[in-house]
């Protein structure tokens, strides 16, 4: 009979490279996408009534080595919290937090978190008089 020649087996183009590209795109977007899962710390909240300062001076300072000072006297956290509480006339009295010169924001945030963890929520931030 006629030599029909070899029958051509049609091969479907492989899907493997396309899947590779899809995986690459997936991994790229997984790495490049940022979901903004930030946490925040409230540093200034408007109060409906202008809060007046009552009672004894409650000045807490923090320096760049994360030491806390109450009214100029250095204290450990365990001693400082009760001391401040004693100076407060009401549980939500304003406590003034002032970083010393050359203190980083990290130290300030740490001090604020420590105070908040111990129940001192109303913190007023003031700058050092030598600040720019």
């Amino acid at each position: 009979m006629f030599d029909l020649g070899q029958t051509i087996r049609r091969k479907r183009p492989t899907l493997t490279p396309m899947i590779d590209v899809v995986f690459l795109l997936l991994v790229f977007f997984m790495l490049a996408a940022r979901f903004g899962s930030d946490q925040t710390l409230s540093v200034s909240a408007p109060s409906p009534v202008a809060s007046t300062y009552t009672g004894a001076p409650r000045l807490i300072e923090v320096d760049d080595q994360n030491r806390l000072f109450l009214n100029g006297q250095m204290m450990q956290v365990d001693a400082l919290i009760p001391a401040v509480m004693q100076l407060m006339t009401a549980p939500n009295d304003v406590v003034v937090l002032r970083p010393k010169s050359g203190t980083q924001v990290q130290s300030l945030v740490k001090a604020m978190t420590v105070l908040r963890d111990n129940g001192i929520d109303t913190i007023a931030l003031v700058g050092h008089r030598d600040a720019p």
């Binding site: 795109l25 977007f29 940022r34 930030d38 946490q39 200034s44 990290q106 130290s107 963890d117 720019p132």
Partner: protein
Amino acid sequence: MINVVFLLLIFFLMTAQMTPPSPVQITPPSGEGTAHTQDAPRVYIDQSGEVYFTTAQGADAIAAVVSSQFEILDIATDQAVDANVLIARLQQLNPTGQTRIELIIAPPRGLAE
């Protein structure tokens, strides 16, 4: 499996552009804060204390923020910025005291806290 991969890809494509890139490279201070949604306008403060807001920087950025009179404002700052500079900027950005300002904090990495 390929369908699942496509679904994942489309998901990440849709959510990838949600956070606009920050104009400056900063390392936020680490600490425990409260979770916060992304909707509030964000101000960036870099290591030198310069303020960035959308495309403006410096005094223009501060003027833009003050004139917008936002209710809530996020501040993303580097952890090495001088705290007194930050407080000065807070007072510049919030002269009326009517804006609620939130400081962006990164959760502490690692197991120890």
